[in-house]
């Protein structure tokens, strides 16, 4: 449901067409959200069927027409309901990488360390990416700040795992 919330929320601020919505998410939220184009189009059509948005076609020259989506009253209501529900609940994140840690003792410590160092490099790159992220103004700041805090905590944790494994060697 949080992709719907995201799309409705963006449309609430300003009507947009599908491509534009995807572009916005991809360029300003790429470090936190990964919403595929097809998913965006699919969800917009779904919400149109459900009466949360309407669309009007806009054409410029001979290009494929843009379908501009507008929030309806029902959409606004749905948006607020989803927003309240989202804010009021804690949805635990799951860490796919933890499963591997559980079986660390099935590999020689030296190999485990070198594999985890590859993981660390990717994580460090994610940290770097969010540091050089485009300015986070107003309403977007919390999301990005959260991701920063999270990634830094992840990096510190991973370093402590690597350090402990290295000592065992």
């Amino acid at each position: 449901m949080e992709r719907e919330l995201l799309l409705l929320g963006l449309l609430q601020k300003e009507e947009m067409h599908g491509y534009q919505l995807h572009e916005f998410i991809d360029s300003f939220m790429q470090t936190c959200v990964d919403l595929k184009k097809s998913t965006a189009y699919y969800l917009l059509e779904k919400m149109a069927k459900e009466g949360y948005v309407t669309r009007t076609e806009e054409r410029e020259g001979n290009r494929p027409p843009r379908r501009v989506y507008h929030l309806t009253a029902a959409g606004e209501e749905c948006f607020l309901a989803l927003l309240r529900q989202n804010l009021a609940s804690y949805l635990p994140a799951t860490f796919a990488g933890d499963t591997g840690l559980t079986f660390l003792d099935n590999l020689p410590a030296s190999e485990a360390v070198s594999l985890l160092e590859q993981r660390r490099a990717q994580l460090a790159e994610a940290v770097a990416a969010i540091e050089r992220a485009p300015l986070h103004t107003g309403t977007l700041q919390f999301m990005i700040e959260h991701q920063q805090v999270h990634l830094q905590s992840e990096l510190a944790w991973l370093d402590s795992v690597i350090a402990r494994l290295s000592n065992e060697e």
Copy 2:
């Protein structure tokens, strides 16, 4: 793929039947993994078809027979490949709760604070749950420790958000 990794890894240590695998995960890893019974059965059958595990039937009295799964050589190989791949890559977690934060300004600050306090209560309960979790011996310790570190970082972050919003009021 990390559910397969998990099942293969557990079977690598000791052959078990489906119910038993689910029980183990549910009682010793419940704070980190939520694998449904049907999913476990489904994955085990799938991996049997793929040749990673074989099964033997065990019956006690008139109860439904237990299907005990054993790792094959191919399964062992697959396990190690999945393990190396898992350890070597950083798979970013996504936070469904961040979307709501992005639209915080669509509600009066006082309501936002009270909704986030509900979220905080659930998070605090998760922290408490993991503190009183069953002893985490050997190989499981990293997973649980990671979850602890993560949840504590989450709680601190959420408190800082709530504090800032409260000041705005």
